[in-house]
């Protein structure tokens, strides 16, 4: 890959990020609202105290002045203080990122691996019962809204059968530490992870299946068979590697959405991640928190898109010469 190609892509990504930073500020201020009045409605506050709060929240002065202050701070990576927790937005986001990365990361990984396997099986035995069964199943879970699927699993496994806790990340009354605590968390993560895995599964399975079907029509597979290779060898060494290309991009792009990917599921299972944080911030509205979250979400997408583009350029030389 040429240096120019990489520089061009990186600069384009940075430009997008700059646009997002500016856009974020106005996005939450398009509709006129008053977070201070809303958050403190019915509280024993004098009008002077409310004025003071607005100064503190950076809501005084004109939109232009507020924007300049916001830019200065954002450039210094200071995302401000949350209206609701009174703590720096940065530390709240940092703290809540890990449960999300764990949950969505594990689910993405599982759904990618399982989805690819299902896609291979379905394509290789196309129009068999196995194909119809797996494709039908993944299509069904893929087309269900994730919050609905989540509620179904919650009602079945947590409420009716009682095998899993109904929400949260740890058993709040347990004293467990170390490995026991880890298992406690895994126990809590099982249902949300299962929901997300099932929800993402279909995408990978379908892409892998159709990609492999395309590859299977290629002449070099006929040649491979003509050489006398066994079916398994043809599939594993000749068909699958070539069919994986679109899946690789899909994985890279989807990793960009790991941080923001599970708002509904986190809300259903009270999973204390970034999705839940967004959900709570919207209620204020907690403007600094929303700005911070949207910045992080967009930055993740931009970064992984850049990775996907570079990766694609590496895997497929046609891209970088265009």
């Amino acid at each position: 890959m040429s240096f120019r190609f990489v520089t061009r892509k990186v600069l384009a990504a940075l430009a997008t990020l700059a646009f997002v930073i500016c856009f974020n500020f106005f996005l939450f201020r398009v509709v006129e609202g008053d977070p201070v009045a809303n958050l403190f409605r019915g509280k024993n506050l004098t009008i002077e105290q409310r004025q003071e709060l607005r100064r503190e929240f950076g809501l005084d002065g004109s939109k232009g002045e507020q924007f300049v202050r916001y830019l200065e701070q954002t450039v210094r990576l200071n995302l401000g203080r949350s209206y609701s927790t009174n703590r720096p937005v940065r530390s709240d986001i940092w703290e809540r990122a890990w449960p999300t990365i764990a949950l969505v990361g594990v689910s993405s990984l599982l759904s990618a691996v399982f989805g690819v396997l299902i896609g291979i099986v379905a394509a290789w035995r196309r129009r068999s019962k196995v194909d119809y069964g797996w494709t039908g199943f993944t299509m069904a879970t893929y087309s269900m809204p994730d919050f609905w699927l989540g509620m179904l699993l919650l009602v079945t496994f947590a409420v009716t059968l009682g095998w899993f806790p109904v929400g949260g990340i740890t058993d709040t009354s347990s004293e467990a530490t170390g490995i026991a605590k880890l298992f406690d968390q895994a126990h809590h993560m099982f249902l949300p992870a299962l929901t997300l895995t099932l929800a993402y599964l279909g995408e990978y399975a379908l892409v892998m299946r159709s990609s492999l079907l395309d590859t299977m029509r290629e002449d070099y597979l006929t040649l491979a068979r003509a050489k006398g290779l066994r079916d398994v060898a043809v599939r594993n060494h000749h068909a699958v590697p070539n069919a994986l290309l679109p899946v690789v991009t899909l994985v890279a792009i989807n990793f960009g959405f790991v941080l923001s990917g599970a708002i509904a599921v986190e809300a259903i299972y009270s999973w204390p991640g970034l999705g839940l944080l967004s959900y709570q911030a919207l209620r204020g509205p907690d403007l600094p928190m929303l700005q911070g979250l949207f910045l992080v979400f967009s930055a993740a997408v931009i970064f992984f898109n850049l990775v996907a583009e570079l990766l694609y350029g590496y895997l497929d030389p046609r891209v970088r010469t265009q």
């Binding site: 006129e32 609202g33 024993n44 004293e175 026991a180 298992f183 009270s270």
Partner: protein, 594 residues
Amino acid sequence: MRPAKLLFAATLIVVAALGIAAVAAAQSDDGKKVVLTVGLTSTSFDTLNPLVGYSVPDYDVWIPQYDTVTRKAAKDFATIPGLAESWEESNGGKTYTYKLRDGLKWSDGEPLTASDVAFTINRAREEAWQNYDAYVHNLTAKVIDDRTVEVTSSVPDPKLPGLGDTYILPEHIWGKFDAKAITKYAADDGVGSGPFVLEEFKTGQYVKMKVNPNFWEGQRPIDEIVFRLFTNPDAMVAALEKGEIDAAHNVPSEAMERLGTTTGIVAVEGNQGGFDEIAINAGSGLKKPHPALLDSRVRLAIAHAIDKQTLIDKVFLGLGSVIETLSPSPNPAWIPEIPAAEQFDFDLAKANKILDDAGYKDTNGDGVREMPGGGEPLKFSYYVRSNSDTAKPVSEYVSGWMKEIGIELDRKFVDSDQLGPVIGKGDYDMFHWGWTPYVDPDQQLSYFQCDQIAKADDPTLYNNDANWCSPAYDKLYKAQNVELDEQKRMDIVHRMLMLLRASAFYQVFALTPDLQAYRTDRFEGWLKQPAEVGPVIFSNSSPTYYNLTPVASSSSGGGGISTGAIVGIIVAAIAGVALVFYFVRRRSTAEERE
């Protein structure tokens, strides 16, 4: 690698994990600790700093942690001894001398003295601490000796001798901060004087409190209180039914009937004076409403065309009660009695007659009345808060009834934080919203003074959301504010509320309770505040936490993962890995063999 077999193996692992989880759920740990778990939803804790935190759940962390000089009785909010065992009045009711109990200690062992009390009151006044200012604005505290503190008010203050909202903070911790730093302090030191102190706060997840061994009434028989946050109300109800939690706050109304008939669970409609009203722009603000609304006969007709009982039955699912006037306090004594003959009964014929007699006729036959003498139709803007569950159905009923009396409502849907500025600018005819009052009626009553209406230089700073201005009301407000005789003060307050009601600008229609439920199998001693009608938790001074005891022979806490289950999971995991390994190996050796 055979994908089909790998898939089969992996599916087996999932099934195995499910099975193990079932085993894990069947067992539960012995529960050496007594843990009270309270589930709550919809609002989260913000900061646990008692100076600046504002969300409702925060108070239930401060109340058990920071005892107050006087407390509010569970029954009727009467002032009862707290850290102070007695007090004496002097200076015509402006000065109170409190005698603190002997041997008071903070949870960290430091002595709690009059100096902590004076520190809290004086710093709060000087720096106008957000949550304290309304109570200490006119107060000065003076240390007489370690156990005696003298509090003087610069004006007659009917709230005294009550100091039940002034959480006394440990000076040896809070004294370190200056005026700015003190509002930013995370308040995670866990030092308090009440029965429980903060142990751990995980934003968005839970708050844990542990028992305070130095509590002056003696250590409570509960080791820990956990407030657990749910974002999914149905999951919270399920957790209560399963016994994962002992009590739930903000139970969805659909679940109340079921919980009420479940053995071992008590559903509570906790009335705290919260109410819902339909407000009409009274026109004293920045913009006038539709001219017809300035005619008291039109407002009266509207009042007779709103069926309060139907709104409660259909929209609030029967959870709530009809109210004729604003409720300024959770204590029902502050609400005046309205004779049956004077009530705004639901009577569409009467409403139509009032409008007919006043000359509002439908001259063009389109079903909407016009101003007397023709002209502008009676079409009013009505704001619906899109983030409220009840605002939309209420608006549907109300606009239906208005149609029947020849009034058209132009419904506009906005978010609460957007409605705020709209009201300030006076850019509305009607809206539906609500309030929850403090115990002392002063605050709620203060909102309807003339000087609380938004002004042109900043239309977002206001409290008077009806844009209603009545010099007679303002005069009464000032009188009740300094009236030290409770009965006389109550009479003034009742007159104020009748004035507001007679104007028909603020049509209060329902008392809206807090919906809660608790289990009876593990703890007893749940206290309603006020007696019989109030909530058991998240009430004004939540006396429940000072009173709960475990039921004899009960086990505590939801089922955690037992050691057996952990071993089971490890075994399953190893089995799973082995299974995968086996299939992979078998395939490759087979290939080599061939």
